[in-house]
Structures are given as structure tokens and as C-alpha cells.
Amino acid sequence: MNPVLETKNVTKKYKLGDEEIIALEDVSIKIDRGEFVAIVGKSGSGKSTLMHIMGLLDTPTSGEVLLNGTDVVDFSEKQLAQVRNKEIGFVFQSFNLLRRASALDNVILPLRYSSVPKSAWKQKALDMLNTVELGNRLSNKSNELSGGQRQRVAIARALVNDPSIVLADEPTGNLDTKTGSEIIQIFKNLHENGRTIVLVTHDEELAGVADRKIFIRDGKVQ
């Protein structure tokens, strides 16, 4: 069976003024179905760039990115948007919820760009909010929720389209230790239920929850 996500010799170079910066160099990694993988690296190591490429938000300068066995490097902007919508769930450090929208509407957001019929939206979103134990906070605006609750809404949003892979970028970075461990527990539970999860973090200790760690330094896999 194909890995869910695979990068083959991915290199990403930036031009910063006259200087060429190599953010990623010859990175080849595989994420198998049902795995819980941590990508660990310091700030500036290239782990964010790798996550952007894995999340199809960015394209590599060279190399291949295979999602469920298909190379997506040459996909059009529209195709990439559709693949992101269907196959990838994002969880961000700063939650990135729509401030004036309710928890329910925030979870529905990815469905608006999907082929899921409108009649099914609410039920799907409700199910996901129940999964993250926020079934009682449906109509609260995101600015009426605590940090931990916001991140749960974000997780529900990441899951609502039943993606192949969940990419979590420092999901506990803006939370206190106790709330952070609650969020990590949610990821553990999701993993136990068969989800494929990639946790991007600078924190080696936190990365310990994952089955496997991939260390990135200076744009290279260690």
C-alpha cells in the first residue's frame, strides 16, 4: 500500500535579495497510513517549510510530493485547493478561527468548499464537535472560547472532511501545560482511532507522544 504522504528528494530554495537560501535540501520522508509522526526541529530548521510543502500550501523547487501515491507537484492552484480541502486537515499554533463566526460555523467552513451536500454540513460539524467534547459550545463565537476550546474547534475543523492526514503545527504552542496535554491527548485518541497525524514541533519532549520522530536540521533530515 502507498504511504499517505511521501516526499522524494524535495529541495526548496528561496531568493532573499541576492542571497539564495536553501530551506530544504534533498528531503525524503514517508508517512504511512495510521502513523503518528513528529517532525522535530528548531526554529529556522526548515520544518515549517516542510510542513507547508506536505500541506500542499507550497511547492518544492525540485523533487516529488506524493499524496496517496499521486505526484501533486504539477497540480494547478485550483486542483491543489481541492486536494487540500479533501485530504489534509490543518491545526495551527494560533488556532486561526474566524473570530465572528460560531464554533459550528468555523467547523462548517471547509465543507463550504467541498462537494459535501449542504444538508449534511450541520450534522458532520456536530459530530466532530462532539468528538472533541465541545458539543455544548456550538453557538459560541470563537472569541468567547478559551484557548483550549479554540484549539478543539480547530481540530474538529481539521477532521470534518475526513482527511487522509492531519498536520498539526505547534498545536500546543499558545496553550498552558495542562491544556496543552489535553490537546495532545485528543491527538493520541485520534491516532488510536486510526487517524494519520503529523505533529510539527520544536519540543523534543512533546514529540515523545509520537510513534516516530523525524529530526530536521538546516533543511536536512538527520
Binding site: 507547508h52 500541506g55 500550501l57 507550497d58 492552484e77 485550483k78 485547493a81 481541492q82 487540500r84 480541502n85 479533501k86 490543518f90 495551527f92 486561526n96 474566524l98 465572528r100 463566526a101 467552513l109 471547509p110 463550504r112 468548499y113 467541498s114 449542504k118 475543523r157 472532511n161
Partner: protein
């Protein structure tokens, strides 16, 4: 994605920011309001003029010396005036089937005095028929008779301004006024008929010709018979006078012709005013663009997020375009409503009306302005790189 989705999303975002949405619309509101109100008021002026003409009496045909046309010098027409009494006879002889009544008009300005009081009035020489043709609004006394016209009697019917200036509170009937040291007996007074005619001294035209050394008529006013076609009547009058005068020595026209000219002038005026106030629509559009650009910057993170979650650039562009479109349209409709209110209030002074084309125009304008000025912000929004946008604080 459903077609209605971006609409719902746009309405949601507009209603989340009610004050800002309203302020953005303000330019459109004022723009559409001023354009439509101006159109309505010019329409009101036109109606007022039409009403005034209708009040003057209907079925009127006017004969004027010279070639009166748009662009020709009216002073020239009177300088070469060849119109005189014999043309009335010609009309009487050759067009009598079409003519009910007619009166010559002689107009001049002269000093009217009574004892130490004097006033510069307009002398209006007419026949006894004038009262049957034009609504002179006789108030007291009587109008002069056919016999008085024939005998060139020195009698006068005076208008309120003259009464006020020369007699004050006194009853002028039977009193004398002097025009060029010639004494005329006041036999009647008229009601106020507006500034143009309130300074009139109406005298038999024969007397004006006799005592003030006038040879020609300023014009002839004809009331056509009720059962004849006015255009046909005009033609017959023209043929009658043509027996003596050349085509460019006189002009025969009807109220309809005058109204047509008035409408033409007001049409130009109306378009000019609408165009000027249309500038405010452009200003309104720039206002929309301005706020939309601010809104795009403010919502950079939201745009980045939506793109990450699967929105295409088209989805984003569509959402912002629809927001701009709705702002334009809603602003336009509010402006139009306001114009309706003001037009309604103005109706106690003037018969102002908003024509259908004015309503359509404001619809189209608000749509176009919203679309036009919403496009650039929408493109700006759609072009945002999701990675950069997500990191934007």
C-alpha cells in the same frame, strides 16, 4: 460549492460589521440620492411649466414676427417686424373655419403715473377677444368692449402691481392713470397671475397704435376651434399670412412647439445635472474600493485560512466581489429610497416625479460601480499567498 454560498458568506461578513458597511455605502447613498432627486426636481420644473401653459388656455396658436427658431436672434425678428392688422384680416378671411377667437398683442414698457406716484409697467395692447382666449383673471370691473376697441377709447384694465403702486388701498375703478401723459380710465383690475403679468396695463390695441405711434403687432394669439386639429389650424393660419409675407418674415407656432423646446432645454439641463452629480457616484465607488482594500488587508489571515482549507482564488475573488456588489446595490437602493422620500416631500411645492428610467439608471449605476470598484480589492484578496497570509497578524 453552491452558487448561493458566496452570497451568504458576503451578507454574513457585511452584517458582522454593520457600521463599517453603512459608512462604505454612504458614498453610494449620497450619489444615487442626488442623481435621482435632481432628475425628479427637473421633472417637477417641467411639469410646472406644462401646467402653467395649460392654465394659459388650450388650443392656442401664436403668430410672431420674424423667423423664431432656436439659435436665431429674437431682437432681429422684432426689428424687421412686418406683422400688422391686415394679417388679422387675412386670417379672418382665409382661416375662419379654424379660428374661434383671436387677439393682436402689442407689448411695450412705459411709465405709468397717477398724481405723484409712478411705476414702470408693461403695456399690453389687446382686443376685446383677449379675455376669451387668455385667462387674464378679471377681478373687479369689466374688460373693454368691441366698441371701445373700434373707437380707440382710452380705457385700461390694470394688474395688481399697478394697483398697489399707484392706488394703494384705494379703489381704482373709474380713476385715471397716465401713460406717456395720456390719461386712461381704469375700468377693471386683474387678479395676481404671477410676476410676469402682474405689472400689466391692458389697453385696446387700437388705442396703443393710435396714441403711441405703433405700426406693427408684437404678435397674434389665436384660439382654434375645439373640433379642429391644432396642427391643421396652424397650417391654415400660416397659409393665410403667407399671402402677404414671406416664410421667414413670420412664425406660426403652438403651445406644443413651445413645450417641445422647453422639454429639450430641460432635458439637456437634466442630463448635465445628473452627470455632475454622477461624479459623486464615482467618489462613492472609490470609497467602496478604499474600504474594501482595508477590509482585504484586515482579513488577510482569514483569506489565508480559507485558502488552506480549500478555497480557490476564484472563491475568494467571488466573495469579495459579491461583498462590493452588495454594498453598491444596497447603497443605491437606500439612496433611491431617500430620493423617494425627498421627492414626496417636495410635492407640496412642485409636481416632482421620479421617472422609471431614473430608477433603472440608479440600479444599473450601483451595480456597475460596485462591480467596477470591487474588482481590484477582490483580485488583491485572491492573489494572497496562503502561507504569508496565515502568518499575518
Amino acid at each position: 460549492m453552491k452558487i448561493s454560498e458566496p452570497f451568504i458568506s458576503a451578507i454574513r461578513s457585511l452584517s458582522a460589521n454593520k457600521l463599517r458597511s453603512f459608512l462604505t455605502m454612504l458614498g453610494m447613498i449620497i450619489g444615487v440620492f442626488s442623481v435621482v432627486t435632481l432628475i425628479a426636481l427637473v421633472n417637477g420644473v417641467e411639469n410646472f411649466i406644462i401646467d402653467s401653459f395649460n392654465a394659459l388656455g388650450s388650443n392656442l396658436i401664436l403668430v410672431s414676427p420674424g423667423n423664431i427658431d432656436m439659435g436665431s436672434d429674437p431682437a432681429l425678428a422684432y426689428a424687421n417686424n412686418k406683422l400688422d392688422e391686415k394679417h388679422m384680416d387675412l386670417i379672418d378671411k382665409h382661416a375662419s373655419d379654424y379660428v374661434d377667437n383671436m387677439t393682436p398683442n402689442i407689448r411695450m414698457n412705459k411709465l405709468v403715473t397717477r398724481r405723484s406716484n409712478s411705476f414702470y409697467g408693461s403695456i399690453y395692447g389687446a382686443s376685446d377677444q383677449a379675455i376669451k382666449i387668455v385667462d387674464l383673471g378679471l377681478e373687479k370691473g369689466r374688460f373693454f368692449t368691441q366698441a371701445e376697441v373700434r373707437e380707440k377709447k382710452k380705457v385700461a384694465v390694470i394688474a395688481p402691481e399697478i394697483v398697489k403702486e399707484l392706488f394703494g388701498e384705494l379703489d381704482p375703478i373709474g380713476q385715471e392713470v397716465k401713460v406717456d401723459d395720456m390719461a386712461f380710465v381704469v375700468i377693471g383690475t386683474t387678479k395676481s397671475k404671477g410676476r410676469m403679468s402682474d405689472d400689466r396695463v391692458i389697453i385696446p390695441y387700437t388705442s396703443v397704435m393710435e396714441y403711441f405711434n405703433v405700426k406693427n403687432l408684437s404678435g397674434i394669439t389665436i384660439k382654434a376651434k375645439d373640433n379642429v386639429d391644432l396642427d391643421e389650424a396652424r397650417k391654415q393660419v400660416k397659409y393665410a399670412i403667407r399671402r402677404d409675407l414671406k416664410d421667414d418674415e413670420f412664425t406660426v407656432f403652438t403651445q406644443k412647439d413651445i413645450l417641445k423646446s422647453v422639454s429639450q432645454i430641460l432635458g439637456v439641463l437634466s442630463s448635465a445635472l445628473a452627470a455632475i452629480s454622477g461624479i459623486s457616484l464615482i467618489v462613492g465607488g472609490i470609497g467602496i474600493m478604499n474600504i474594501m482594500l482595508v477590509s482585504v488587508t484586515e482579513r488577510t489571515q482569514e483569506i489565508g485560512l480559507k485558502k488552506a482549507l480549500g478555497a480557490t482564488s476564484n472563491n475568494i475573488a467571488l466573495q469579495f466581489s459579491i461583498e462590493a456588489l452588495l454594498i453598491g446595490l444596497l447603497g443605491g437602493m437606500l439612496g433611491l429610497s431617500l430620493a423617494f422620500v425627498v421627492t414626496f416631500l417636495a410635492r407640496s411645492f412642485i409636481r416632482a416625479t421620479i421617472p422609471l428610467w431614473g430608477i433603472l439608471l440608479s440600479f444599473i449605476f450601483s451595480l456597475v460601480v460596485g462591480l467596477l470598484f470591487g474588482t481590484y480589492p477582490a483580485i488583491t484578496a485572491a492573489k494572497k499567498d496562503p502561507i504569508v497570509a496565515l502568518g499575518y497578524e
